[in-house]
Each structure stands twice: as structure tokens, then as C-alpha cells.
Symmetry: C2
Subunit: 200 residues, 2 copies
């Protein structure tokens, strides 16, 4: 069964970006701290994706699972600061970007712009060819949770308090959503990888 899996690195105080996040400062001030574990070797040969493929240990295992997903759903706020990942997030899988007005976002063969989160998720699941769908971004997470189209959550809990920035879980409908913890992995550098299934 194809699942939609939100994948985010989050500080212990709940932030996924530092303050002053903008298109030209996508992770916000100090936000790169949250992704250090993933891009540990990114300065070396072959760039970021090669570095992820080489990442050792538990962090490497988790990173490679993400790179084995069959489609990507993300918001404009994730896509744009990342330069659209050069049109290829990983392995040439289809990318669905939530955007009400995609003018100026560029045209890329793998990228489809969609204006509704449920439609984006349905299209991505179809396109993922039996693999999971990687979901990225706080805004997309909030919309997907509210619409009931998020199946699982994989959080990389980073041992830092940012004190300010963009929260992952904000402006959710004020109702209790039960989760089932399906895996806890203690990664290198004090990163805790938590995997949950959304129950209700």
C-alpha cells in the first residue's frame, strides 16, 4: 500500500525553519542546523545527493528510505527556496507542487502544479507506482492533516532549541489526532527518528 509520509527535520521546540525564512533564505536564520545530519558530507565529491547515498549508520538508513520514495508532494514555500531541486528531487520521480498560482515557478518535465492538497496526494499516490509518497513542508503538512490525507509522519528530532522560526505543527484544527508510533531509531549526532501512523 502506498502511504503519504510527511518527512521533516524538527528542533525539540517544534521548529522546521529558523526566523526570517524567505525564498532566498529557505531554512531561515540558523535553520541549516536542522539538516546538518542529512548533509554531513555534502561538501565532498558528487554534491548533496551523492553525500546522502554515502551517509553511514542509522542516519544513512533513514535518508536512503526517503530517497526510495516514488513521488514527492511539497508546497511552493519548500520548492521555491530549493530552486525546484533543479527539477529532480531524487531519482527522477514525479513531483507535485501545491500552488494556487504557479506563474513564475518555472516549467520542469517532472513537476506538476496542483492547487488542492487532496488532488495532489491522489495524483502522487497514483504516480508513485507502489512506493510511498514523500511529503515536505509545514504548510503542506498542515493542509494534508486538516484534509485527512496524511498517512504517516517521519520526524527527525534534532537536539537543539531554536527559540523562534517556523513551527511544523501550527494552525491545525483544534481536535485531538491519535498517532501510532511504529518505529523509534536513535541516529548519530543525537538525532531521534520517529515514525508514526496517523490514526484518526
Amino acid at each position: 500500500m502506498t502511504a503519504s509520509v510527511l518527512d521533516m527535520s524538527m528542533s525539540l521546540d517544534g521548529f522546521v525553519a529558523g526566523p526570517n525564512a524567505r525564498p532566498d533564505n529557505g531554512l531561515g536564520d540558523g535553520g541549516e542546523r536542522l539538516h546538518e545530519w542529512l548533509f554531513a558530507g555534502a561538501g565532498e565529491e558528487g554534491g548533496a545527493r551523492a553525500a546522502i547515498r554515502r551517509l553511514p549508520g542509522v542516519n544513512g538508513q533513514v535518508a536512503r528510505e526517503l530517497m526510495a520514495t516514488g513521488a514527492v508532494v511539497a508546497g511552493r514555500g519548500t520548492f521555491e527556496p530549493a530552486g525546484g531541486w533543479g527539477g529532480d528531487h531524487h531519482g527522477g520521480v514525479p513531483i507535485f507542487i501545491l500552488a494556487r498560482d504557479p506563474a513564475g515557478l518555472g516549467e520542469w518535465p517532472l513537476v506538476t502544479y496542483v492547487d488542492d492538497v487532496a488532488a495532489a496526494m491522489a495524483a502522487a499516490k497514483q504516480a508513485a507506482a507502489g512506493r510511498d509518497v514523500l511529503v515536505h513542508g509545514a504548510g503542506t503538512a498542515q493542509l494534508a492533516l486538516a484534509a485527512g490525507v496524511l498517512d504517516e509522519i517521519e520526524l527527525h528530532l534534532v537536539p537543539v532549541l531554536l527559540g523562534a522560526g517556523r513551527r511544523l505543527f501550527e494552525d491545525l484544527p483544534p481536535r485531538q489526532v491519535e498517532l501510532e508510533l511504529t518505529r523509534v531509531l536513535a541516529g548519530e549526532g543525537g538525532i531521534t527518528h520517529l515514525h508514526y501512523r496517523v490514526q484518526s
Copy 2:
């Protein structure tokens, strides 16, 4: 070495109480979900403290560590809704309550009211006789972090999204505080017990 250890049960979205928390609704609406793991057997003989002593497994181990601390520091917002724990939080250890104006909070032999978080922590460490100091409450946590007098954090991460309520980490100084993860325990019921040392 005596350490001050913040101990809180927190939802995955960062709340330590549900919405509408008040002195007569201390955990807020639905907030009791966060403490289910600790009070699993509290309806049975001997009340809450006896139930905690009987709690099996990993959750029981963690709960008994908390009950082995040598002093308690908490805020009025924690103390008052709990009825001052009947004047004895656990094992007759000294209790230090942060309150600018303690009028109306009652007099209890084990309870001292203090108006400054650093003074409260210093007095509690002195009184703890070589054991750790248990720190409780979001407001106290925020003050202690800002004053640099919080040594460790033990979080019980509960597999639920509350969507609204009182956040543990809010109104912190907007600066990055590094933590050292010293233990991860997978408890019963999907509770993840995370222990951190505050670095800076």
C-alpha cells in the same frame, strides 16, 4: 552532582496542556491524554502514587526515577490546579514554588514560596541532598532556560496531536540552545522518553 531536570509529558505538536487550562482545569480540555501513561492504574487501590510505584515496564522505570528526585521546583500554574499535591509531591521532599505573591496558596510544611527562578533552583539543589531536582511546568521551564539554570530535560513524547493548548517551548529567548541527547527509551503505548543535557 545534583542536576535540575525538567520533566514534562508533551504531545508531538508541543503541547503540555489542552486548551482552556485554568486552576480548576489544570490539564486543559483533553490534556489528561498526556498523562494516561503515568496514571494507567490510578483508579486502583492506594491512589496515584501507589499506581506509579506499580507501573510495569519502561514507563514504570522512568516514573520511578522521577519519584526518586530529592526536591521539586514548580510554578504556581502547576501547583495550584494540583491542589498543592496535598502538601507532598512525593516522598516528603522539599517543594519550591515560584510565586510573586503566594497569598492564598496555603501553608504547608514542605512548601517554600520563592519569587525568583535562580534562587528557587539554588535552594532546591541545596535541599535535594545529592539527588536530582524535579522541575515541572511550562512557565517554570521557560524562566529556567532563559536564566540558564536548567541542566537537563526529560520529555515523555505522547503519540497524539492536540492541535491547541499550552506549548512547552514558547516565548524562549530567540537564540539557539544546543542539547545533548543522553537517552532514548521506547515506552509502552508509543511513549518515547527522551533525555537531554542542556549545553549552552
